[in-house]
Symmetry: D2
Subunit: 399 residues, 4 copies
């Protein structure tokens, strides 16, 4: 019989998908990837899949790979979609597919199923990754195909012995992983509504944050954080610890109107406390260590990497070439940034790089230690302004 | 005799420049431009120039022109140098020169003098503007040419009846205008030193801010703020009021290592409370009203405008062409943003645009009101991923 | 009954579409737009539509509007898709739709039909334009929906009294207008096959071109050609004359592997003789009249405009904003370029601009007339190289 | 005594520089680098330096390194300054300095001298490279400092036993190497003068070219040419052979008004026959083998690399990071391009890539072999056009 690997979350939608795929003639292999989702009992989820009809069920630990191969480039590339969103959900999709394709190959499955709807970005990210990694695999997108009302879905669940959560459904649609949490739908669908406190889970309201700041030193090697206050830790641990600490200070809330790849605008609430701390510190250290022309051009590559992540093109030659640029640029991004976490903000208040600082106090100073050749400036300005000078002499636009 | 127009500030440097220029054979016409500098008595400054030897002395009101022609584009173009600095000092330089050239033409002066040192950006901004507006004008840069120690300058001042400020000199080098305040030098020259509280003047420390937020509605027309809480005000007034209100909440502090045009890195402390509020609100409203492709490309133009401002190329055909793009883009940026000012942060918490919102709740919703055609998605994804699919089939980089 | 406006070409495909649309319950209004297609009798085509079942049939003259609003921006923006293709077919699609929507509004039609297949770019260009201009109009794409073999189509044609061309079908798929001619399919589908001579219609093989060059002077105003050898002519006339003259010299052949928007690579043969002459001359005049920084940044905008044209996004706010930039840039592109047409090449051999040349012989010269301040250079170089100098001193990458 | 290494060419200017540097107290070490200059007897030049006063004189073979490290990136990056100029002179400068710095270190010299004037790009390229490779080295630029008329220079030469070339001085200023030849000055200084035949040396006038085309197959590996007609050759040999063959066909003439880094426009005549053939073929092969998104973004990196070369920033971290991108992109640029050389043009007439062609005839074909899913197109278009559709529905700009 025809096996299919399902990206399983344990929720109602992907649980209902199991009997639905069985009805279509599939043996369902459920797989849930641990990318640091908050408060989930993954072995319970693994069992639940079997309960509702899966023939096999796997939990795959992906946290370290997620941090290293997916979050790392985001840090190095200062990747914020539309200047704000650190790509939380966009990062897990290609890794989930990578693992599902591996399971498909191991189990002999010929198809992959995902639980995305037809109007979001995740369907694109899932399916583009499948096409890239093994285009021979068939794709099922049951939730996109259901066309059910909520009531019809519950009826179908009851008919097929899928447990239905008791009580009122959460008004929100949530996705989370190690790097943050995304929330949409419900009252948030009106952009003129302020996001209510129950929309947030990882961060305190600024009104509820401590009146004492936390100050910490974050050490970077090649653009990646490697230590907090001098203590070396894994990237996963650094992110986990900073999520707690910065969350307590209300850091990392994002409220944005976003352009989805599928062509609509949506309103999203994100929380990414560790991301806010790490990315602020990283950028600050780059200001100290990157040569000017590189620093001024790198945002062009950063924007491209961000777009490729968001648009589901992680497995692409353009991503790889762009990351070759980024990695080269990060060789000198070594040093320490002192961060203050306080009242909703992560602020870089001091920074140093023993080996790679390009800040030269003797060039920059206004004291007598000045080693800058001020005489050069006059010549510089003359040639600097020559093209516009000639332009005005000829065309008299501004004079 | 040969007249020269001096960009006069009232400080020791430009005061000493007056006898120095007289020694070089000039009749000095002093001119100070009101661009909203804090706490300066401009008519006293006007008189002081005459006291120390100027033959004529002018105060020119430039605040409205400054707001309209120099700050306005910064708002519309989300212009933040190196992602952080709202270009405070870079904005006043071309306007100062514009006014000085006018005075030169009116008074028959054949030269312009400015008080910049030889290692900053301002000398470039001043001189590039002079070359653009009237390349026949000679340029004097006395401070760049002094080569004096502090003691020598004071001795020269005393010899020439220039009043020397009593007491310890401020350790900082400061420039300010309506749009904000820049501070450098002194203890700030070590990037590992945290900026002390006496480095700030417009903003409260977050520790000292009110425990009650201020929430206000900012209305934009064509990308520019026109009203606070529904009350129409001039751009100058809006900025002045927000500087006070947001300053009280500790909003708008910036601490950065910056790449100067002259090739060195410097450490700068900026305060720009109104800028932080207005620019955050503006960007938020753009998220609601700009079409996606335009929104994603506009940052390329924004970066160019920012660079041109910073590098002293305001009077240039590239600036004009880039602003033609920006102005076209801003025709639809109309609406209201609700801003919360609290504990050092200006946050957009809600936004609406009656006439130009592209957010369509019926497309975005997860409720039954959904009008999005989910079936289109499958076809979209197939073509979207076709190039990378074929690439992987041929090259097997990731599979 | 329900009216539909059909973009009619007179060929078999769109002729068969008429009875097919009638079968679907439409009254078909045929419309053919004159955009300078070669060798077509448009009134015969108009009649043919009626013969095969259209209820109304229109020929619309679009040549001047095509030249002014669609070709003009291509010239000013040096728009060459993937560096080579002057966008011939991409230009006519949005204009055709504009006219069809007008006819729909006049005739009360509620739908538009186009004759594109499902694997080309033109379907996207047609439908995106329809959505932009009137999203309430329904869209029919009969050729995309036929799923017929060639034999089935001919049978259907015979059954419905649609005349079938006698003799062997051309092996090529051709589209042409004032700005050039596109050819694909047949033997060209193998990129290793050299394009045979019968693939070309507007240009002579270089082997057959005259042994005497033609030299002409092309005058531009605001970036558009306005005269040949001093004689003012309309843009349409200039293009038509140059197509003949440059075609005789074998100029304007393009053979390229192209990335289509729908995700596949195709092999295309283009001929665009006038485009080759005009665009070469235009670029050459820009080299003389555009200020350096503008000249170096303009290609970024050019690439965007080219992409928008190619991808069917002419009616978009990004196109409009980008053209605002381009138009501003072209104000100074006035002058004359001397072009030599010979043996397949259009070469700019001399150029002048009385009012806007930025070439200053006294600055450029190596004679004694030199007015360039060579002393400035040393200072310029010092500051120019300061960032990389410091970088190497710290990091020792290259030394 | 203080040693200085002089970049020696054997011409009058750098010969006169030797006694001039001696007068300044230097021991002059002359060094000439072989980068494939045409028709020069380098050992005679080596001897001449000693004759006019150098204490040591070296000829350094740099051709292979020049081809590999300087020309190779130009090919892979399609680097054409301002869309036309393949960077001939810009490429040799950093290599010359690299070798001169090595000689300085070996001979204990503390200074380097170059023969550039004060108004060209080469002085910047020389000095920026010196600053990058060893900022402790002093720099002398005698020609920039001479301020001599031609007569004064000749008198100085005669006084110091420097042989003065007999007969009329060439009206042109020429630089050449393996990659091509640059020519400026004289009658060329008027852009309205057509370049006379005596301005060219490597290429025949089209009027004088053979009436028979040459057709050859150029094989590329990782974006670099490795064989002609299947015969493997070194990059140096391929360039040398193509310079002769393509030069005979009049290929590679460039006539352009150029924006120099020092702020002036100049008129330049270049010849680069091999470059025209190789770069045309390379681009054509990229069209076949590069994935679309990569192909469309790569020009951004290409423009940056070109600019860095031209502006003397080869030794910079931005160059290195950009080349990391390029090298990654070139891994799949393997295949063969059939080039026709005829009447001044190098044309790609066929191309194939056994291992990396992304052209899929079954996707592209209009025959029954079609494997493209045309049904997907309708869905694609709907989402593709959704942002502009909503924009028009709200804003009615075009409807």
């Amino acid at each position: 019989m025809n096996k299919i690997v399902l990206a399983y979350s344990g929720g109602l939608d992907t649980s209902v998908a199991i009997p639905w795929l069985k009805d279509k003639g599939y043996d369902v292999v459920a797989a849930v990837l641990d990318v640091g989702q908050a408060g989930k009992n993954l072995s319970e989820i693994q069992q639940k899949a079997l309960n509702v009809g899966a023939v096999e069920s796997y939990v795959v630990d992906g946290k370290d790979e997620f941090a290293k191969d997916f979050v790392g480039p985001v840090i190095q590339a200062n990747a914020l979609y539309e200047g704000k969103y650190p790509l939380v959900s966009a990062l897990s999709r290609p890794l989930i597919i990578k693992k599902l394709v591996e399971i498909a190959h191991e189990t002999g499955a010929k198809a992959i199923a995902h639980g995305s709807t037809g109007k979001g970005n995740d369907q694109v990210r899932f399916e583009t990754a499948i096409h890239a990694l093994d285009p021979s695999l068939a794709i099922e997108a049951p939730i996109r195909d259901f066309h059910w009302s909520r009531e019809e879905e519950i009826d179908y669940a009851k008919d097929h012995n899928v447990p239905v959560p008791i009580g009122k459904k959460s008004p929100y649609s949530i996705d989370d992983n190690l790097w943050g949490r995304a929330n949409e739908a419900g009252i948030l669908e009106n952009p003129w509504n302020e996001a209510p406190e129950d929309a947030f889970a990882l961060t305190a309201a600024v009104e509820e944050t401590p009146d004492e700041a936390d100050v910490l030193e974050l050490t970077f090697k090649k653009g990646l954080p490697v230590a907090i206050n001098g203590q070396e830790k894994s990237l996963v641990t650094i992110i986990e610890e900073l999520n707690v600490l910065a969350g307590k200070h209300g850091i990392g809330r994002i409220d944005k109107i976003e352009n989805r790849l599928v062509g609509i605008k949506s309103r999203e609430i994100y929380e990414a406390p560790a991301a806010a701390v790490i990315m602020t510190a990283h950028k600050d250290l780059e200001d100290l260590t990157l040569e000017r022309d590189l620093a001024h051009f790198k945002p062009v590559i950063e924007a491209k990497i961000t777009e490729l992540y968001y648009n589901g093109l992680y497995f692409s030659p353009l991503f790889d070439a762009s990351m070759a640029f980024i990695e080269k640029s990060q060789e000198v991004v070594n040093g320490v940034v002192k961060m203050k976490l306080f009242k909703g903000q992560a602020t870089a208040i001091a920074r140093q790089s023993e080996s790679n600082s390009l800040y030269d106090e003797n060039l920059a100073t206004y004291t007598d230690a000045d080693s800058f050749d001020q005489v050069s400036a006059a010549g510089f300005i003359k040639l600097w302004s020559l093209p516009t000078t000639v332009f005005e002499q000829v065309n008299h636009i501004h004079d």
